[in-house]
Symmetry: C2
Subunit: 194 residues, 2 copies
């Protein structure tokens, strides 16, 4: 008779089903955008009607915010681990770019590229997304601060350019050609100046 909290991390049968739904939703949001993905679309992929999803989630807004934050959590910890193993500032930047691209370009999984469509999301959702993203970008602010850049380069612009590349790589990435870590190497070789 005990109802399990749909937002909890409990690992019974219902929770596995919930994770499956989250992964389906993440893929659809990544492919079609927030407004382009209806609850009925998600339900169809999960084999249920749209309304039935509300036993697992509170609302479409909350679902999207949860996915977005989970993706940034995963990226943050993966980057932290990759950077920890490096000492040279350029090597640290390269490791961070490779780790982020590996996530951004993964074709499936729950970690998906969705920090770009702030425009098509309701205002209340957008504020949460922006707050989380700003926190995420702090790690790049400190990585860039550690670089021995020529003085004529504006580090704020440099960081924004770098991040916009990493975030939009999925728009032109073609799985057949270079691997994510090769693209990261290209980016760093372009952004490397001293």
């Amino acid at each position: 008779m005990k109802k399990h909290d749909p937002a909890s991390g409990s690992n019974d049968e219902g929770s596995g089903r919930r994770r499956q739904i989250l992964e389906i939703a993440a893929q659809l949001f990544a492919k079609k955008g927030y407004r382009g993905t209806s609850m009925r679309d998600i339900g169809e992929q999960a084999g249920v009607l749209g309304g039935s999803l509300y036993h697992h989630i509170k609302s479409k807004d909350a679902l999207f915010v949860e996915l977005h934050n989970a993706a940034l959590d995963a990226a943050e910890s993966s980057i932290a681990q990759a950077v920890r193993a490096q000492d040279d500032p350029w090597a640290r930047l390269a490791a961070a770019c490779a780790a982020l691209l590996e996530i951004q370009l993964a074709p499936d999984s729950l970690t998906m590229p969705m920090m770009n469509d702030f425009r098509e999301v309701p205002d209340a959702v957008r504020q949460q997304l922006i707050a989380r993203r700003d926190r995420f970008e702090e790690v790049f602010r400190s990585l860039v601060a550690g670089l021995p850049l020529p003085s004529h380069i504006d580090r704020s612009v440099y960081r924004n350019l770098l991040l916009s590349q990493l975030n939009s790589a999925s728009n032109w990435y073609c799985a057949g050609r270079l691997a994510p870590d090769e693209i990261a190497a290209q980016i760093v070789s372009i952004f490397r100046h001293e």
Copy 2:
């Protein structure tokens, strides 16, 4: 009794009204995205009801395609003119970046940043947008081909990284800080290698 073709370039009173509507639509699409902008939203800004817009346009899809193509036409000719005045390959690239950014970061006008939301547009529209964009990007392909780049840099990746930066600059650009041409200079100074 003569009906004027709404897609023609005639310059009578009706055509001026039409251009005004196009500018309003361009601003809304740029700010809220394709799906986030309803015909009623556009009508409201223009001081009429949504249904009344259909005397000036055929459909929302056609309106968006027209705006997108007009923006790329304007960018293409502005870039061509800027590049023509330069001889050195790096100077040509710098001129092209400055011209494109000037358009991408202009707060109003009909030329607007909208080559990013291919995801939220209907399939039939997306195909037209992609075809036009691919043609637009050819000019950058040839500019990059003219650069004396180190051999370890992949020119295809280089071009995609450059374009993704130019296209998403409006996401972080803050009018108070650097001017568009200063940002273009920063980009070129980062992308300059020999």
